[in-house]
C-alpha cells in the first residue's frame, strides 16, 4: 500500500472570485411559482433553516417542505397577502407548489450527495447556498462546480477520493 501523501494544505483559489462573478451574471433568479421570501421567514419571523428544510442536518436530503408544512402556519398567518392566496389555491387543489430547484446535481454527474455529514462537519449553510437568509427569492449565488466541492474538501481535509461523491 502507498501510505498517505502529505495532506493538502489550504490552497487559496484565486479564480473562485472570477468564476463567481462570471457565473452570477449568467444565472438569474429562478422563476419560482410563488415569490417566497426567505428573508421574511428567517430574519423577520426568526425561523431556522431546518424548520422547513428538515433533513438538512440529519438526513441525506435537506428536503423542500411540503405545502402541508406551509399551510400549518399560513392557515392563520398572513392570510391576506396575495402570495398566500396563491399558496392556498394550490392547497385547495391538493397540489404541491411546483418549486424550481435552485441547487442540485446534474443527473449524469453520478453524484451521491448527503447533507448530514456536511452538517456534522459544521459547514455553514451559506457556504454552499449563499446568504439565503437575506434573500427574497433564493438565487444561486454560489457556483457549484466540481472544483467548488474539491476545493472545499481539500481545504477541510475531507476525503478527495472520487468515490467520496461519485458512485
Amino acid at each position: 500500500m502507498q501510505s498517505g501523501h502529505a495532506p493538502y494544505k489550504g490552497v487559496r483559489p484565486p479564480l473562485m472570485l472570477l468564476l463567481f462573478l462570471a457565473a452570477a451574471g449568467v444565472l438569474m433568479a429562478a422563476d419560482q411559482p410563488l415569490s417566497f421570501s426567505h428573508a421574511a421567514h428567517i430574519e423577520k419571523a426568526r425561523m431556522q433553516c431546518t424548520d422547513c428544510h428538515s433533513g438538512a442536518k440529519t438526513r441525506d436530503a435537506a428536503g423542500i417542505p411540503s405545502i402541508r408544512r406551509c399551510m400549518a402556519c399560513h392557515q392563520f398567518i398572513a392570510t391576506d397577502r396575495p402570495e398566500i392566496g396563491r399558496l392556498v389555491a394550490y392547497w385547495e387543489k391538493q397540489r404541491e407548489v411546483p418549486w424550481l430547484r435552485v441547487y442540485g446535481f446534474a443527473k449524469d454527474a453520478a453524484v451521491q450527495f448527503r447533507h448530514a455529514p456536511h452538517a456534522r462537519a459544521e459547514i455553514e449553510c451559506a457556504r454552499c447556498h449563499g446568504d439565503v437568509a437575506s434573500m427574497t427569492v433564493a438565487v444561486p449565488t454560489v457556483i457549484h462546480t466540481m472544483g467548488t466541492c474539491v476545493q472545499c474538501h481539500r481545504d477541510n481535509s475531507a476525503s478527495d477520493d472520487c468515490l467520496a461523491c461519485h458512485y
Partner: protein
C-alpha cells in the same frame, strides 16, 4: 496482504479499513441468489433477449460453472466471480482519464461520469468482470420504481462493475460516524453476501486480523483467482475440499 494505512488529514489516526471478501466454495451451492440480489441492489438493468443473444448481459457477479470428467464420473466446479478488487489491478493503469483507480480502502473504483468509454479497462481485466453500457438503461414502467436511489443509474457508453456495494459501505460508515463509533465486523454486507443462503461469502476488513474475512483469507484453503497474473485480488476463494 494489504496493510492498513492511516487516513490522511483526519488527525484521528483512524485505521483505513482494507475491504476484502472470502468465498467458501465448499459452502457455495451455485444457487445464484447473489446474482439477482446484486441486480436488485445496484440497478443493473436486464439486457433483454436480443441483447442477451449478442452476449451483452450485465452480471456484476456471475457463477462460472465447468463440467469435469464424463458421465458417470462427472462433476461440476463452480465459482461466483465478481470484481476481484485487485491491488495491482490491470484495469487501472490503462485508463487514459483515470476513471478507474484503487482508493485508500482498497476498492477498485469506477467513476462513471469520468469514463469516456475506451473500454481498455474492460479488455484488460483478466476476469472480464467489467461491463459496458451498450444502450441507455431502460425499465418498463413501473419496474423503474424499484431502482435504488443510493446507486447511480449508469448512462450509455460507460463501463461499470461490482463496487463491493460501496453505497452500503458509505451508509454504514456514515451511520457509525453519526453514532460516534467504529464500523463493526460484519456490519457491512454487500448485497450478494447478505443474500447468500449458504453463508458462503464473508465481507470485511482484511487489515483487521480478528475479522472473519481476514481469518478466512489466511486459511490454508484460501486461493485467489488467476493469482499467477500478479493482480493481487482481494477476493479469496476457499477451495472445495474434494
Amino acid at each position: 496482504m494489504p496493510e492498513g494505512s492511516t487516513e490522511a488529514g483526519t488527525g484521528t489516526q483512524r485505521r483505513t479499513p482494507q475491504w476484502g471478501m472470502a468465498i467458501d466454495l465448499d459452502r457455495c451451492t451455485g444457487c445464484e441468489a447473489c446474482v439477482v440480489a446484486c441486480a436488485s441492489e445496484n440497478n443493473v438493468p436486464t439486457a433483454g433477449e436480443d441483447q442477451a443473444a449478442k452476449g451483452r448481459t450485465k452480471h456484476w457477479i456471475r457463477i462460472d460453472r465447468y463440467y469435469e470428467g464424463d458421465f458417470p464420473n462427472i462433476r461440476v466446479r463452480h465459482r461466483p466471480v465478481l470484481c476481484q478488487q485487485c491491488d495491482e489491478a490491470p484495469c487501472e493503469p490503462v485508463c487514459p482519464v483515470n476513471a478507474t483507480y484503487q482508493n485508500a480502502e482498497g476498492l477498485n473504483v469506477q467513476i462513471y461520469n469520468r469514463c469516456i468509454g475506451t473500454r481498455y479497462c474492460a479488455i484488460n481485466c483478466p476476469y472480464t468482470v467489467r461491463f459496458f453500457n451498450w444502450y441507455p438503461p431502460e425499465w418498463a414502467e413501473p419496474l423503474g420504481l424499484q431502482l435504488n436511489p443510493d446507486v447511480s443509474v449508469r448512462p450509455a457508453g460507460v463501463v461499470e462493475k461490482c463496487t463491493f456495494c460501496v453505497q452500503r459501505i458509505k451508509r454504514a460508515k456514515l451511520n457509525a460516524t453519526a453514532e460516534g463509533r467504529e464500523v463493526g465486523d460484519g456490519e457491512i454486507q454487500p448485497a450478494c453476501v447478505q443474500s447468500c443462503p449458504a453463508e458462503a461469502m464473508v465481507f470485511g476488513d482484511l487489515s483487521d486480523p480478528s475479522s472473519r474475512v481476514a481469518r478466512l483469507a489466511n486459511s490454508r484453503r484460501a486461493q485467489r483467482l488467476l493469482e499467477e497474473l500478479g493482480t493481487k485480488p482481494r477476493v479469496f476463494y476457499l477451495e472445495r475440499a474434494d
